[in-house]
Amino acid sequence: MKTVINVSLSGHPKTFQLEEDAYKALQAYLDRARARLSRDPDHEEVLRDLEQSIGEKLGKSLRGDDRVVSRKEVEVVLEEIGAVNTGNGEAAAETTPFDRPRRFCRIDEGKWFFGVCQGLSAYSDIAVEWVRVIFIIGTFFTGGALILVYLLLAFVLPQVRDRREYDASLRTRAGTA
C-alpha cells in the first residue's frame, strides 16, 4: 500500500494528490526556501508565489488527469523553479532553527519570577506563554517537583538582561568558537 497525501497549494482551488516521497520532496524544498527567505520582509508572499508556480507546473504535468503525482514529477518541477536565491549571502541566513547557536540562561525582560521560562523560550524558539503552560501543567503532574527544578535552574543558569543581550552573547560565542 502506498500513502497518498492531499496537498493544496497557494492560489489553486484543486488539491493535488502526492505520493508520500513526492510530498517529502516538496516539503523539504519549501522548508529550505522559508529558511533562505527568513530575512525577507515579504517572505510569506514570495512563498505563495513559489507555491503557485509549483501548482501551475504540476497541473501542466498532470494535463488535467486526476492521478497521483510521483516524486520524479515533483523533482522535475522543483528543478525547473530552482533553489531560492536571494542574492545576498543566503548561506548565513540558512542557519535553520535546529543548528543555530543557543545557550541556556535566564532572561530578565518580561520575567514572572526568575526568567527561567523566558530563557527556555529563547533557547527553544517556543513562545514563552507555551513554556509557562507546559511548566504549570508539568508542576501539577509531578506533584510540585518541577518547582524544585525551576528553582535549581534559577540558581545555576547565568542571567542576561533581555533578548538583545542574549543574541549578542550568542554572537560573541560564535565568534570566539
Binding site: 492560489g11 489553486h12 531560492v84
Partner: protein, 108 residues
Amino acid sequence: MDPDKFNTLRKGFLEFLILSIVSSGRVYVADLMQRLSKTDFATQEGTLYPLLSKMRREQLLDYEWQESDTGPPRKYYKLAATGRKQLAEFREYWKSLTGLIEELGKPS
C-alpha cells in the same frame, strides 16, 4: 574568461533587464523568464520571485492580479514611477559607460 567575474556583473544587471522588459508593457513571470531564457541572463523562479518582491518593496515595480483561463489569477508586473526613472538613469549610464570603454581602449 573568468566566469565568476562575469557572474557578479550579470547579477547586478538582471534588475535593470527586468525593468527594461517590464517597461515594454505588463508582464507575467513566465513572460519574463521566456524573454530572458534565450539570453545570457536566463533565470529561474527561485531567483526571480525574491528579486521581484524586493523591487516592488523599492517601488520600482508594481503588480496587479489578473484572471487566467488556465489556473488561478496571476500577478502582472508593470513599471512604477521610481522604476521608470531608474531605468532612464541606467540607460544613460550604460551609454556613457560603453562610450568610456571604447574611448579608453583606443591607443593613445
